[in-house]
């Protein structure tokens, strides 16, 4: 398409060069080129507009007036197409060509009421209507819903278009001077040109061109252009003075409103500029003596007013704020107070709101209204809204929505990309960005055994420090909240922190925590570090920390027996399955067999035994005679007691100061802990047969009682 149009334009350029070099062939060249105006390609059309302007207007083309008229008649049927090219530069060229073609063709028809008159006249009317319609539009652009904004835009095209419309008015109205083209010359018998109709049309056009003066805001370039151009009408069409003069008289920049699309400084300058042009026009009219006597006085007063206003402004800095600024009023705003196309926060209110968020209306909750009223309100509003404005509003909302969705997906794709990158290695993502360089951290070095121990020691010490501080939650909260980790995370670690929560954590870490890793010497060694720490913690203050010790050893026993039981069960099950696989026909319920065998097996807890033993061994030497409660509690609450543990009590009995405690605990165990009764009796028997007289006596007493 592009290539094709470039080719066409290349050919056209050659034709143009030929035409300009060979004057006598130029009309022929122009006629040929006219056919390209309807080319579908806009750049070809624009080229034609520029070429025609050159031919008709540039003195360099030097075409004889008579030839120009011929060319104008040739071009006329193409003019509407030319004027419809949606390109500002081409449109400007088309306007200039149209003005000339219109004048030449108009005069030709006026003077030659021949066979062609009707078709020429039809084309003229069509061209005129097409141009006039564009003055009220934003051609070559689109009208928006906001008339105020539109009236300040595309001013250039309007200033140009004004030339055409003023020409039409000039040509279609009777003139008061013979100096100009006279419609009066047209025969009243003319087959196409009906003077009264033309005059009515022209009068209506005058209303069109006067509109910018009646706008409630000042579009200075257009207003001054209109005022200046009016000089032709007031000089030639005196019959319209009654219409124009009152309008100029009542035109007052003081009554205009500041546009929402201009600063107050711009508005103040606009007023000054427009006042001056109006003053020049009125002075000109006065000098050319076109003002009818009834208006003379009032127009003179107007001139005097404008002059003194101008002199006033001259003396001061117009941009400086003054008391007069307070009188300046802004035009009521037709646009959206909140036309922001980017969402400030992700919620529906922000997505849909086009009104000022600070106005009271925004806080009104329509959901309080009954549904039927709501429905009729909505229908009413939709019916009354202009479709252009509504679609603009929807546009804004759609843009906000798209933007928000895009922002969200940016976050998501970043995550997804990571996965994608692992799969596809070519590294070009959807946006076409190459990410050849991938920054990856080296995998962490495995900790050596010693390092692990060191690290674990650190952890355990922290726990113990915490415990020593009393394990208060305030101390936990010292987690660095500024490091970017939300405080929520540190809170969730333990739902509600109790002063002893640390011990649960630590014991579980030693048992279940470590067991989840493959069991090895390493891990048991690491676990032992924790256990040692717990033991030391207990021994440091046995009176206060018996709870911790009991809790720990219970957990120790429980987790170990559960694990070991499962292990045993797996072994047994495997054994039976194996058996079954070897001889499927053997009698017996396999489940039953497994259960029976499990029942007969005692699950060993060697780790528990070891540490409970250590604890007791360490505890017993330090027990005071008064520590009855602690020791009995220990004896009753430890989940399992081995024979060697019970034997440890013997040393208590042997100590004269604490022998009471020893016997008491044996008695207690015999009474309340049947599984270890036999161990206790064994201990008593041992003592009864021993060589210590005092122990003998006490032991025999108890043996007699419980054996």
């Amino acid at each position: 398409m592009e290539d094709e149009s470039a080719k066409v334009i290349g050919t056209l350029n050659e034709a143009r060069a030929y035409g300009l070099a060979n004057r006598e062939s130029l009309p022929q060249v122009v006629k040929q080129i006219l056919n390209f105006i309807s080319n579908p390609n806009q750049s070809v059309q624009a080229w034609c507009a520029k070429f025609l302007r050159e031919v008709f207007m540039e003195p360099s083309a030097s075409i004889l007036p008579a030839v120009k008229t011929d060319l104008a008649l040739d071009a006329l049927p193409f003019m509407v197409t030319l004027a419809n090219i949606k390109d500002l530069e081409a449109f400007k060229d088309a306007i200039d060509v149209s003005v000339l073609v219109y004048k030449l063709a108009f005069r030709f028809v006026a003077e030659n009421d021949g066979v062609n008159a009707s078709s020429i006249w039809l084309h003229l009317v069509e061209l005129r209507n097409s141009m006039v319609a564009k003055f009220d539009s934003q051609f070559p652009f689109e009208l928006s819903f906001d008339l105020e904004k539109d009236s300040l835009r595309n001013v250039h095209a309007k200033v140009e278009l004004l030339k055409f419309i003023m020409t039409v008015i000039d040509y279609q109205l009777r003139s008061s001077s013979s100096k100009y083209f006279l419609i009066a010359r047209v025969s009243s018998e003319h087959s196409q040109m009906k003077i009264s109709l033309m005059e009515t049309e022209a009068a209506a056009l005058l209303d069109v061109v006067l509109k910018p003066l009646q706008n409630d805001i000042l579009v200075t370039p257009l207003v001054t252009a209109t005022l200046n151009h009016l000089s032709t009408i007031v000089r030639r069409k005196r019959q319209f003075m009654d219409r124009i003069l009152p309008l100029l008289e009542s035109f007052d920049t003081e009554t205009k409103l500041q546009s929402n699309y201009e600063s107050i400084e711009t508005f103040k300058l606009s007023k000054k500029y427009v006042d001056r042009t109006l003053r020049v026009l009125l002075n000109y009219m006065s000098k050319s003596q076109v003002i009818p006597p009834p208006f003379t006085n009032s127009i003179n007063r107007k001139i005097a007013l404008l002059t003194s206003r101008g002199d006033d402004i001259r003396k001061k800095n117009i941009l400086q704020q003054g008391p007069a600024d307070q009188k300046i009023q802004k035009r009521p705003f037709e646009g959206f107070q909140n036309g922001e196309k980017k969402l400030k926060s992700l919620d529906y209110k922000n997505l849909y709101a086009l009104t000022d968020s600070s106005s009271d209306l925004s806080s009104f909750d329509v959901s309080n209204l009954p549904q039927n009223i709501l429905v009729s309100m909505t229908l009413n509003a939709l019916n009354r809204a202009s479709s252009v404005k509504l679609s603009k509003a929807l546009d804004i909302i759609a843009t906000r929505y798209e933007g928000a969705v895009k922002d969200l997906s940016l976050v998501d794709t970043a995550k997804v990309k990571k996965f994608e990158d692992e799969e596809e290695e070519d590294g070009a993502d959807a946006n076409g960005f190459e990410d050849e360089i991938k920054y990856t951290l080296p995998p962490p070095k495995l900790l050596s055994k010693d390092e692990k121990k060191q690290q674990l020691n650190l952890i355990v010490n922290n726990f113990i420090d915490l415990a020593n501080k009393g394990g208060k939650p305030e101390d936990i909260a010292e987690a660095p909240s500024s490091s970017g980790v939300s405080s929520e995370l540190t809170k969730v670690v333990v739902n509600s922190w109790q002063p002893d929560t640390w011990s649960i954590l630590l014991t579980r870490l030693a048992t279940r925590g470590m067991r989840t890793i493959l069991e090895s010497e390493d891990t048991s060694e690491l676990s032992d570090i924790i256990r040692k720490a717990l033991l030391d913690y207990f021994l440091a203050s046995i009176h206060d920390r018996v709870d911790v010790a009991i809790e720990w050893l219970n957990e120790e026993w429980y987790s170990e027996s559960v694990t070991n039981e499962q292990k045993k069960k797996d072994e047994v099950t495997e054994k039976w399955y194996k058996k079954y696989a070897e001889d499927p026909n053997e009698d017996g319920n396999m489940e039953e067999n497994i259960r029976k065998e499990m029942d007969s097996i005692t699950v060993e807890t060697p780790t528990y035994n070891k540490w409970a033993q250590q604890l007791l061994d360490a505890l017993i030497p330090f027990l005071e005679p008064t520590d009855r409660k602690i020791f009995l509690r220990m004896m009753s609450d430890l989940p399992a007691l081995t024979k060697s543990m019970v034997l440890g009590i013997k040393s208590l009995c042997a100590d004269p100061a604490r022998s009471k405690l020893g016997f008491l605990s044996l008695q207690y165990l015999i009474m309340y802990r049947p599984p270890v009764k036999d161990y206790c009796l064994d201990v008593l028997r041992e003592m009864a047969t021993g060589d210590q007289e005092d122990l003998k006596e006490e032991a025999e007493k108890l043996l007699q009682k419980y054996q």
Partner: protein
Amino acid sequence: MGLDDLRLCTVCAANNNRSMEAHKQLLEAGFSPRSFGTGSSVKLPGPSADKPNVYPFGTPYEDIYQDLISLEHRKMYEAQGLISMLLRNKKVKKAPEKWHNNAGAGKFDLVITCEERCFDSVLEDLLQRMNNKSEEAELLDVRQAVHIINVDIKDDNENAKIGGKGIVKLVRLIHDYSKRKQEAGEALIDEDGYPIILEDEMMKILTEWQKEHTHLPTLYSVSYY
């Protein structure tokens, strides 16, 4: 648009001081301006306020210069800066030209006047021209829009220089308008797809310029001829 594509001219009363200083500065800035005077003749200061030295437009600056240096008040003219002014003018162009007779210069896009009186005079002359053509001339003529801006400059050496500087800046603002927008990374179309067109932004440009040049009051009008 190249710098010399912008058809522009400066206008003061005698086409000697303000319009010539601006003419010179615009030339130096790369533009191809013309300059004119709106007075009935070229009036330069004489021995006293009621005895000016008067020359018809078209008298070469060289002749005026020779005339003044041969007069008995030569010293005074030198002190007033008249002599150096003429020396400058000689380098810019041959002779002062009258606005009203400039039809041969073609149509301008932009006319910068240096005094309110001149602004009024130019506007009025354009109104007059729209109505004074012969029927035949008017038939073959298509009017052209012209922007007229007045920058009020006091008529002395120093102010002519300051004013000339201001005019160059303003002309640059207008001429480079779309280029500046583009360089600033701003879109050349607005949200409704409208191009940012100079004519639509003229008032904004003038406001911005006026804010920086409060001592050079402006006037503005769009006319045709």
